[in-house]
Structures are given as structure tokens and as C-alpha cells.
Symmetry: C2
Subunit: 322 residues, 2 copies
């Protein structure tokens, strides 16, 4: 009926996505507590901080302390986000992270202007600079990313042809620096995607570039996150970014509210119930979702932590029958 | 790529699903206000009350007053729920509702025992009694329903074969009373469904009974509601129950919380963005979602009311370019 993947890789982005948006200051120790708790769930990749300008993102001012403080677990990759040379060099200097480079473009000129103060041409030039820097530092580059690949609050709808053009440029940049891109991440940065749009775009990308694994970075701004992930699965996507408890969003901020990534435990729940492996212990992950809620001090949007996992109920039913 | 329906019918159940679960008493006038507001959105069917025992469901004690109070709009069907003869006769006596009968079974023996105090055999007998009653009152019966068709908190997983057996029995009951079932509703009463389970069950039902239109009643207990609706669409389902703002749930009640139906405005958003007509004015519906939140006095789970519709942004982008 459908050709779903047997196994899915989840890149947990809760610590980074979540803490950069929270308005009240979160103590460094509690950020570390969350990362260490996530490390015990079976998640294989955790993005712990972004090295960005603390003037612009005060919630990440303690990035160095957070990275210094968490305890590495074997088998887990710990990543960070940066947007420029300064950030990258901080990540390298930390000496504790799994540093790899991502080449990133955005299909939306206007978002680029607002988010990073760059034109499309300047952004391409910046990617060349970063690629040169990665080469010099012997940092691998296997991943390319297209931001706002489905639509943009400042630009409107983004067409499949525009995204394919960004992908072409990303691959050209990689080739010039002798990097081989293996994973292409499509980001629904502002929550414009629907399942049908996911199918169309992923289908077009896979048809043009069958050699690339497609990853999805889905924001749940309009409640489509899980449905979009399912549509991705049906198109063979097996790599997803997600944030525990849906960290990163502000569900009660009406139209002003950004929303977080698709919720990790809801995604894991769906995958496991459909027989798809993740390596994650769902019960432990739900406990971490409650911890995340306790840390930010407000209700977070994840549903499975409220509704409960089904294996608990199955066990109860079985016991009642004995 | 997929064979999605061109048009979807939505049965709004917010007033019934929502007000029967709220713990604090909602004034009758505000219930009427919500129904009248929903009547202005383009929704073609609204379930306004359930005629149930006020001892068991205090929130529905004023059902007669609510029905007396709302203003019928042309082109809108106003329905009610009942579980027995007393309830049905109250619905008929109201003289204002679109009364039609539904034959209903449940795949879960244990849920039946807890919810209605009946065995499977007693439930079949009860459906025969109701069918006789409908016949006597010249009430049409075109719809049959299987409750907890995907799983049950008291019974565990429900197999496709069990549901097909319930469907067979429903059709036999209908036939004996010379009713022709046109719509089969599959209810995920306790939020056990995943998109894959929806595809399997709807596929099996449609293969066995191609003459039946399938409707889905999806609870969003574990955040799968919209994804399950999408999976249903891909299987040709074009009738959905939904509740404005996700009314009926209690998202912050941890494991004790039931959750409401899939949220109407989130569903309408997805449908419109995928080019599927509903006849609903999304902007008006979002306003009603805020009204619902105001009426129950707590945040409700719908996402689009927080994230905002996209047509507003498209218009803004277009104006900025002129």
C-alpha cells in the first residue's frame, strides 16, 4: 500500500530550538539537565546550542557554558548551529561537539534579507566562504539545506522549481569545494507546508536527485507537522528534525506566535505504532517532555505526553485479562 | 500521485463534544451563541446537543433550552446525539432538528460494558429496537457507525476483521428493517489510530463494501488527528466529524485527559491549502474558534488560530509588492 521506511533517524533540536525562543531566562544548569536527559532516551543526535550573536538571541548567551557542562554519551552525536565564521569557530573551540558543515540556501529572498541581512547573491558567496572554512578545518560537509522551502511569511508561496534551483546551486557550491552532499534537508521554516505540498516537493527532489537522502525540518505552526511527516514517510523520507514536547513554539501567542518543530515524542509514537524503528525509548522520552515543560514553566504543545502512550494501556489490558 | 477528493463534508460536533466534557457550567445563552456563530461559517451540518441522562452528563442538562434557543439557518442541518428511546423522543419532540437515525455498534466489548452497560448481544438487540423505533417514526436511517474501531483503552488493539464483522452485523440489522446504509462512520473513539491503521482499515472496508461512503470520526488524543484525516483523504474519505478549536479535549490533563475531535479549522486549513473545497469560510471559522475558547475559559488546542491562516499572509505579501 505504501512504502514506508523501516527505520527513521531523528535529530533532536529541542535544546537549540526551544531555548533560543523562550522569553524568560532559563538557568544554564537546567539546559544541561535537559540535554543529559535526552542523551538517555536512545536519541542518536542532539543539537545542543546555536552559536549566534547574544545581542540578537539572548537565550543562547550561555552556549559555551552549556556545551562545557553536558555529559557526552557514547553513540550520541552532539551538534550545534552557527550562521557565520565566528559561530563555527566557537563550535570547533568547544572541543566537544560533532562538528560538520551544512551548506544552506533559502528560496525566499525577503526572508533572507530579514533573517540574515543578505541578498541571494551574498548568501551564495557566504556559503562559498563557509565551504572554504570547512575545508581548511578538515570539517566534513555532507548535508545541504533549503530554508523556507514551502513558503515564507514575507515572500508568499515558494514553487517547486525555485527549490530545485536552490538545490542545484547548493550542489554546485559543494562540487566546487569537492564536498559530496548526501543529505538534502528541506525546511518548512514558517509552517507553510501541507502533506500534499510535501509529497510534491519531495517527489520532485527525489526524481531529480535520486542519490540524495531527503530530510525534513517541519514546524508545527498550523498543526500540520505530524501529517507532513507522514507524507514525507510515504515519499521515503527517513530523517527528521524534531523537538521534544514541541519546544520552540508559543502556542498561545495568536498570530504573533512562532511554533516549534514537530514534537519528537508525538513523531516517535506515530513511527513506533506504524512499526518503524527509531531506537528511542518512548516512555523515557515522554518523561523528558514533562521535564522540558517544567523547565520552561509553561504548557508545551506535545500531545502524547497528555494522551499517554498505548503500550502502557496494552500492558494494563493484558494484565486485567490474566 | 494521490487521488484526493475534490470536496469534503464536515460535520461540526464542537457544541456537543465540547460542552458535554467541560467541568464548569457553561451558560445556555453562550452555547446558543456558539451554535449561531458556527451557522454563519458555511458549515453544512452542526451537532448541537446530546440528549443524554443529565445525571451522567450534567453539561447537557439544558439540551432542550439550547435547541429551543438557536436560530436555524437555511442550508444547515442541525443534528443531535442520543443513545436510547428517551433521548430520541426528546430530539423528535424538539421539532427543530434534522432527525435521522444511526445504527451503531462497537468493536470493543469492554468499552461497551463501561460506556453503556451492555454486552455485544444486548447492543445488537438495542440497535434492532432503535431501528424499529425509527421505522415507526418515519425517520430515515442512512448511516451506520463502528465505535472504537482502531483500539480501546479497556480492550486493546482492535483488528480489521473485528471491525468488518461489526460492519456486517450493522448491514444485517439495517436490511432486516429495510433501511439502506449509505455512510459508514469509523470512530477512533479513544485516539488509537495512526495514518497507517487508517489506510489499512478504510482500505479493507472499501474493498469489501465499495457501495458505502466512509466517514471518519477522529479524536486527537495523541496528536494524530490531522495526519489520520490526511490518510483517510488518500483513501477517498470525504466526510469528517470535527470540533471547532478542538473542543472536547483537556490538553493539560496528562493521562487522565480525554482529547477532543480533530480541530475543524485545522482540518479546513489543510483541505483548502490542498485545493479541496469545504464551503467553509476559514477566517470566520477561526473567529468562532476564539469565541469557543472565550466560552470555555481556557486555551483550546487548535493550531491555525494561533499560527494564522496563510491567505492573510499572501494578501499582505501581494500588497507589499504593489
Amino acid at each position: 500500500m505504501t512504502d514506508l521506511p523501516k527505520r527513521v533517524q531523528i535529530n533532536e533540536e529541542g535544546p537549540r530550538e526551544g531555548f533560543q525562543i523562550e522569553k524568560t531566562a532559563i538557568p544554564t544548569q537546567r539546559k544541561i539537565q535537559l540535554i543529559d536527559a535526552l542523551s538517555q532516551t536512545g536519541l542518536k543526535q542532539i543539537q545542543v546550542v546555536s552559536y549566534v550573536n547574544p545581542q540578537r538571541v539572548p537565550g543562547m548567551a550561555d552556549a559555551d557554558e552549556v556545551v562545557a557542562g553536558f555529559t557526552r554519551q557514547p553513540g550520541v552525536r552532539y551538534t550545534a548551529l552557527w550562521l557565520n565564521k565566528t559561530g563555527f569557530l566557537r563550535a570547533v573551540a568547544a572541543g566537544k561537539l560533532d562538528v560538520s558543515g551544512t551548506l544552506s540556501l533559502t528560496a525566499s529572498e525577503r526572508f533572507l534579507a530579514r533573517n540574515q541581512g543578505r541578498t541571494l547573491a551574498e548568501n551564495i558567496a557566504a556559503q562559498h566562504e563557509m565551504a572554504t572554512l570547512y575545508k581548511m578545518n578538515k570539517v566534513p560537509v555532507r548535508r545541504a539545506s533549503v530554508m523556507s522551502a514551502f513558503g515564507c511569511n514575507y515572500q508568499g508561496d515558494v514553487g517547486v522549481a525555485d527549490v530545485l534551483d536552490q538545490v542545484r546551486q547548493l550542489l554546485e557550491i559543494a562540487q566546487q569545494h569537492e564536498f559530496r552532499i548526501e543529505v538534502l534537508s528541506l525546511a518548512d521554516t514558517m509552517g507553510w507546508a501541507t502533506p500534499l505540498a510535501v509529497k510534491r516537493l519531495v517527489g520532485a527532489v527525489r526524481e531529480r536527485h535520486p542519490e540524495l537522502a531527503v530530510a525534513l525540518h517541519l514546524h508545527d505552526t498550523r498543526g500540520m507537522g505530524i501529517a507532513n511527516a507522514y507524507a514525507g514517510l510515504e515519499m521515503g523520507v527517513s530523517i527528521f528534525d524534531a523537538a521534544v514536547a514541541g519546544l520552540g513554539g508559543c502556542p498561545f501567542a495568536a498570530n504573533k506566535g512562532a511554533a516549534g518543530n514537530v514534537c519528537t515524542e508525538d513523531l516517535v509514537f506515530m513511527l513506533h505504532e506504524m512499526g518503524i524503528e527509531t531506537g528511542v525509548d518512548l516512555d523515557r522520552l515522554i518523561e523528558v517532555a514533562f521535564l522540558a515543560e517544567d523547565i520552561v514553566g509553561r504548557p508545551l504543545p506535545g500531545s502524547v505526553k497528555a494522551g499517554g502512550a498505548l503500550d502502557v494501556l496494552r500492558k494494563r489490558v493484558k494484565e486485567a485479562r490474566q
